[in-house]
């Protein structure tokens, strides 16, 4: 799903697009260096570690000698990423490119490795914070907030309470995802469907990216917000941190983050504090492309029936996209994957690959251990039904008829074959179909023949 990858990775691209001075300022914070390190592909992480204590620039040859033959494409990806994020500095000396680690990054990462980092805020003492929620309560709260937000996002009318985001903010979030024609209810676009089928962390990053790009227009510094978010992922979930330790911009952001379910705001007698949830601390895990590691809930059987052990409305909406939901029990959604429901999904722009990947990634642990987690006849049939809609392949072409003689016809068909453009010919009736790209060449050739 190349398109989905672009959306999910865009947060790091946004970080990379910050001007050099701001990026250097960001690298003064040890935790941001750690977050950036974690977001790199594995090969890039290795290069950073190896270069950590090397002060002189290294030419690209030794770097390439560290690799085996089939690693060259990964090498290129890693080096590009490192240069994009300004972690590697390129020094062109006498036509040889040499690399050196960004010195701010290097110093701070070294300090972080040897002595570890301390956050600018400490958890508040137990005496002030009366009853902290347990981790289950916190997880349930985070989950609920996020789902409520998503349901409102796709304006399905199923959300129980509305979030405190202003309608203009919601419209900005919905910009790429919904499309509204006059007098019609807003419909999800193709990217909207893809968005719903992504996993939670990827969706979170998309929303946060939109939020941060929007905040630039309101005069808040992008780099500050990014720094705060990356720092947030290193806080301890379940511990209370006082709101007094935040700057004004950060306080505004915290209120919005509470709506997304990343933190929980609580008030005591005199003080108020925020508690990060697991959603916030898992943010830095999802910065790379690694396989998603969460519990699934869908069981697909070989008779095309589907059982989803979930009570969430959001899951029900997602399953309704491509399956026919038959019953909804308190903890179970029963449905079937049918030809009509799939045709519906294909018309809305969802591809078979996305559906199959969604089913595989969200497979219930009981079936996830089996290989394959989704029965092959189901996945094959989904793909076949998709190709059903693509049965006809269209190539723009021209039809030639009424040749004066057989020689001209054969010369023309050889000419077309030479240029790889002959699609069909009928030798008896002297007709042929030629690709549109070489139509002009054919005309020249035939005119030349006539003379």
């Amino acid at each position: 799903m190349p398109q989905v990858k672009i959306i999910a990775k865009n947060f790091m691209d946004m970080v990379a697009s910050l001007p050099a001075i701001k990026l250097d300022l960001l690298y003064r914070n040890q935790f941001i260096c750690e977050a950036i390190l974690r977001s790199l592909p594995p090969l890039a992480k290795k290069y950073v570690l190896q270069m950590l204590y090397i002060d002189i620039p290294i030419t690209s040859k030794p770097l390439q000698e560290w690799l085996l033959a089939d690693g060259s494409s990964k090498h290129k990806v890693a080096i590009d990423r490192l240069i994009q994020l300004r972690v590697f500095e390129v020094i062109d000396r006498k036509k040889e490119t040499t690399y050196k680690l960004n010195s701010t990054f290097q110093t701070n990462l070294r300090k972080h490795m040897i002595s570890g980092g301390i956050l600018p805020r400490e958890p508040m003492p137990q005496s002030v914070t009366a009853r902290l929620p347990t981790s289950e309560e916190l997880d349930a709260y985070a989950h609920e907030q996020w789902e409520c937000f998503l349901l409102q996002l796709i304006s399905s009318g199923q959300a129980e309470k509305s979030t405190s985001f202003s309608s203009s903010m919601m419209r900005i979030f919905q910009r790429g995802l919904l499309r509204q024609r006059d007098k019609e209810a807003p419909r999800l676009t193709e990217s909207g469907f893809q968005f719903l089928l992504m996993d939670t962390n990827a969706q979170l990053w998309y929303i946060i990216r939109e939020y941060i790009s929007n905040s630039e227009e309101q005069g808040v510094d992008q780099a500050d917000l990014i720094a705060f978010l990356l720092e947030l992922s290193f806080h301890t979930p379940g511990e209370a941190y006082s709101l007094d330790t935040l700057t004004d911009d950060q306080t505004t952001m915290i209120k919005d983050l509470a709506d997304l379910g990343l933190v929980k705001l609580q008030k005591g007698r005199k003080e108020s504090w925020f508690i990060p949830t697991k959603l916030a601390t898992n943010l830095s895990v999802s910065l790379t492309d690694s396989s998603s590691r969460k519990q699934g809930f869908v069981v697909v059987e070989t008779n095309f029936r589907m059982y989803a052990y979930s009570s969430s409305k959001l899951h029900c909406e997602i399953l309704r996209l491509f399956a026919r939901v038959e019953y909804q029990l308190p903890n179970l959604i029963v449905g079937a994957i049918t030809k009509e429901s799939l045709y519906n999904a294909f018309e809305n722009g969802i591809t078979a690959e996305q559906i199959v990947t969604f089913l595989q990634q969200n497979a219930h642990p009981r079936v996830a251990a089996k290989i394959p987690s989704v029965p092959e006849n189901v996945t094959d049939q989904i793909r076949l039904w998709e190709t059903d809609l693509n049965r006809v392949e269209m190539t723009p072409a021209h039809f030639y008829d009424e040749f004066p003689s057989r020689d001209v016809f054969e010369a023309a068909s050889d000419f077309a074959r030479m240029h790889n453009g002959l699609l069909w010919e009928d030798a008896k009736k002297m007709r042929m179909v030629v690709k549109a790209e070489i139509h002009m060449l054919m005309r020249e050739h035939l005119r030349g023949q006539n003379k």
Binding site: L37, K46, L52, L68, M113, I114, T236, E239, T288, S291
Partner: protein
């Protein structure tokens, strides 16, 4: 003996079980002091935990008489401290290490002179494999485990059987055993372990730069190992030790039923109990040996 087939790893989340050699007989005569060694190792452990939020580290101390777990990054106490991780990790690890060393010394008994002062490597290897088995059984979402041995003590031939059994079970469960030998000679056990399980064996030439060796070679996660050049085995010492006296031997007798190795002729195999046939007469065997040597 072919080395282990390579496995495909989807991501770079790793569980590294570090076997730390704390044999006082070795460290008292080593050029690198134990405290310097520990500072290299602690920075390396922090680097592993920095690489990925889901990485885990377990440290098992290999003592002279006993072995014990000294640090586990996934235990509840250690897990909640992402912030300020290094000080907490250092203090808890060092404290447990000190308690372990005191206990280990108390277990010392009078030893006969001339005995090789080796550490209890077989014990810590078995403990590591048991921990890893538990991780395998914890469900589908587990980090990819590997074992890193930081050894300096010489090999104890009496541990041959136990170590080979542990190596083969590691090979079976596809757990690579990396080894870094810090002593002056070569360790046949470590070389064999890394060769058979598909891990990396290296003997650093300059112990002051141990941190850089650890970062360059041993911090490579299993996913990246298929793309990166790592030190290859130069020559592996495959010699065995006999089961009866625990001496290292080149030529010996093997039971045809269970493949146990003996240096002298026995009437009965001590492992499986099968009875051996009559020994050839001394003269005939001596002349056999004499005949064979000119040919080889």
């Amino acid at each position: 003996m072919a080395s282990a087939p390579s496995k495909l790893y989807a991501d770079d989340v790793s569980l590294v079980v570090v076997l730390l050699d704390t044999n006082p007989f070795f460290w008292s005569s080593s050029s690198l002091s134990f405290s310097q060694f520990l500072s290299h190792v602690l920075a390396f452990l922090n680097a592993i935990l920095t690489l990925n939020q889901l990485n885990q580290v377990v440290v098992i101390a290999t003592g002279y008489n006993s072995c014990d777990y000294v640090f586990d990054s996934s235990s509840d106490l250690n897990r909640s401290f992402e912030n300020g991780r290094m000080p907490v990790m250092c203090s808890s690890l060092l404290q447990k290490l000190e308690e372990f060393l005191i206990k280990d010394e108390q277990l010392s008994k009078e030893e006969p002179e001339g005995k090789v002062k080796s550490s209890l490597f077989s014990g810590s290897l078995s403990m590591a494999l048991c921990y890893i088995q538990r991780v395998f059984r914890s469900g589908a979402l587990h980090p990819h485990p590997r074992i890193l041995c930081l050894q300096g003590s010489p090999d104890g031939p009496e541990q041959y059987v136990a170590i080979m059994n542990a190596i083969f079970s590691a090979q079976r469960s596809s757990v690579p055993i990396d080894s870094c030998y810090l002593g002056s000679q070569n360790s046949a056990f470590l070389q064999q372990a890394s060769y058979i399980t598909g891990g990396v064996h290296h003997k650093p030439q300059n112990l002051d730069g141990l941190f850089q060796y650890l970062m360059t070679i041993f911090a490579t996660d299993l996913h990246s190992r298929s793309f990166i050049h790592l030190p290859k085995p130069v020559g592996v010492d495959f010699r065995a030790s006999c089961f009866c006296h625990k001496n290292t031997i080149d030529m010996g007798y093997i039971c045809s039923v269970c493949l146990s190795i003996f240096c002298k002729h026995h009437k009965k195999c001590s492992t499986c109990g099968s009875v051996f046939g009559q020994a050839q007469s001394e003269a005939a065997s001596a002349s056999d040996k004499k005949r064979k040597t000119p040919e080889t």
